[in-house]
Symmetry: C2
Subunit: 211 residues, 2 copies
DNA sequence: ATATTTTATGAATCATTCTTCAGGTTTGGA
DNA sequence: TCCAAACCTGAAGAATGATTCATAAAATAT
């Protein structure tokens, strides 16, 4: 798999004038729209450009290759989710472990289900790119936020916070993906919302002791 | 996304002679090898045929299109994992809930990590195909096996066994994928093996009561 | 007003790859 | 042995789509 990575995925040049910024935004938006309406395999640079109301050449002025586009879209989504997680972690410091678990689950699910169609489309996009660096960076950020949160719990002491934070991240991301990736029924989503907090709470209790 | 589904993905014709069966096996094997060495984006029908030691035409005699090949490979993997899960469920009937959780986790992880590289490659393959029917069938099979297992627990009674089986499936598949999909360190895998049983046991206890 | 930089165009290029088919080879039975 | 069915070949066809570049327009600076 020759999946591009690193520099090749960064923007070719920065827009300087307002109209250029506008163009880039339109391309961005068009990428998501095409992804949703046509799917990844039918996403061509020409089609995206057309949807954005510009020509292909313009697209290539800001993105050196098709995948740079996809990478940028994915990055934006992942960072939004990470922001939600980190903000929740900051807000829940020193709370009881129980509440932390509930809040964390809710924040994550809310962020991921804000636009389910887009989330699903991006799962597919991620498979097409070399996302090791991007996912690694996001993972590290989320990891330390969650670990620090756990350590600040007001009622209990979490043992091996790194292992627990690791498992918690995998559980949140994994279960959510398992449910959203397939065309989940409303019931599946409801079941996830109901069971995931129970799961996380039970785990945190099992992995902690009195202060 | 024009992802083929249903009939289009079934084999064009069945091999009748021994040499033909041999050819099909070789194509199968070659598909996985190319997937591992070149990646999905570089997997072309010609390349697979060459690796298998046959001509492209031969390949198209048994698979109507490239994706039928990928579908078949994925199907074989998923069914192997499902077999492992179902066998374990059958073996663990009437055991204590604790042991069930441990055995289930171990069986799933063993099946998925038997060939990590192939498992990772197939995560990517799955994203390229319309796997709704296939995944749905596998999910149903696993679901009823797990639910029946839970109901047979010798020491505790599981409430809402469908919801619990659902969550358990999502957790197993999701966390495992979250860890394997990225190039996980040996430590990550060890952490998963250590935490996942704890997670599942704690959850099952939380979702059950005395007999 | 003029020069310079930035931005936009889109037909043409270039490369890739799926898929077919007309014709040859091998197999197994009559 | 001979024939029909099964199997294999691989060059050619056809389509697709990523990317470039010469050119033109618009914005900004001088």
């Amino acid at each position: 798999m020759t999946r591009p990575s690193g520099d090749a995925l960064s923007a070719r040049k920065q827009p300087r004038q307002a109209r250029a910024q506008f163009t880039v935004d339109a391309i961005f938006e068009a990428t998501i729209q095409v992804l949703l309406s046509e799917g990844l395999s039918a996403l061509t640079t020409t089609r995206v450009a057309a949807r954005a109301g510009v020509s292909v050449g313009t697209l290539y002025q800001y993105f050196p290759q098709k995948q740079a586009l996809l990478f940028a879209v994915l990055q934006r989504h992942l960072e939004a989710v990470s922001d939600a997680v980190c903000a929740t972690c900051a807000r829940c410091r020193a709370m009881p472990l129980d509440q932390m678990a509930g809040a964390l689950v809710q924040a994550y699910l809310d962020a991921k289900t804000r636009d389910i169609a887009a989330t699903r489309a991006l799962y597919v996009v991620a498979a097409e790119l070399d996302t090791d660096d991007l996912l690694g960076a996001v993972a590290r950020r989320n990891h330390s936020a969650i670990r620090d949160l756990l350590l600040s719990a007001g009622d209990r002491r979490v043992h091996q916070p790194d292992a627990v934070a690791f498992a918690l991240r995998a559980t949140l991301a994994g279960t959510t993906r398992a449910v959203l990736e397939r065309d989940a029924t409303q019931g599946d989503l409801a079941a996830l919302r109901a069971e995931l907090p129970v799961l996380c709470r039970a785990y945190l209790v099992a992995r902690s002791g009195p202060l």
